[in-house]
């Protein structure tokens, strides 16, 4: 339980940083005329700020599925390196 509380405390600055981005994301989604449930579902299921903004554009412009795949992969490809970097901190 102590590690859970420590993790929660360590995560607060990140959460606060994303709060302002979340407002901008919600406003963009409403502006583009998306149904209310879609940005909510997008936020629950996706862990990517830039990707979510691109996703709103892709949905509102009725993009093809392969276009979605490549856009989101290109945006997230840096996290392959980030995860590889993280893996080195987890093993000893």
């Amino acid at each position: 339980m102590l590690t859970f509380r420590k993790g929660f405390k360590d995560g607060v600055p990140i959460a606060l940083g994303y709060l302002s981005v979340a407002f901008a994301f919600g406003m963009l989604a409403v502006e583009k005329g998306l149904p209310l449930w879609s940005p909510v579902l997008l936020s629950i299921s996706n862990f990517t700020g830039t990707g979510q903004f691109a996703g709103i554009d892709l949905i509102s412009s009725n993009a093809g599925l392969w276009e979605v795949v490549f856009t989101i992969l290109v945006i997230n490809i840096r996290y392959m390196l980030m995860s590889l970097s993280l893996s080195q901190r987890l093993v000893r």
């Binding site: 600055p13 862990f47 989101i72 080195q88 987890l90 093993v91």
Partner: protein, 108 residues
């Protein structure tokens, strides 16, 4: 776009977001012995974040002077090992105060 296609796009997005993060962690469990590669991976997050912040940090405020002041405040506190939140809040407050001062002396 139909509801079904919106759902499909969200599912595809979730997969394309999650897999690049999960696969390197799940498949790669060894310690890298090569010193060049392991130091590259060690400093990589800082490099990526710095590339995302610079040079936008100077142009995203109302004046480049307040941008420089905010950057200086953040660098100083980060160098003194303050936490993420104090660094971010101090940089914001510094930018706000600097811009009010610039308005007072008529530059902004």
């Amino acid at each position: 776009m139909s509801i079904g296609k919106v759902l499909l796009v969200i599912v595809i997005m979730a997969l394309c977001t999650y897999l690049p993060r999960m696969l390197p962690l799940a498949l790669f469990r060894r310690k890298i012995k090569n010193q060049f590669l392991s130091s590259l991976l060690c400093y990589l997050p800082y490099g990526i974040l710095a590339a995302m912040v610079f040079p936008d940090i100077f142009s995203s405020t109302a004046s480049i002077i307040s941008g420089i002041a905010g950057t200086a405040a953040a660098l100083l506190l980060a160098y003194r090992k303050s936490g993420l939140l104090p660094v971010a809040v101090s940089a914001c407050v510094t930018v706000f105060v600097t811009e009010r001062l610039l308005e007072l002396i008529g530059i902004l």
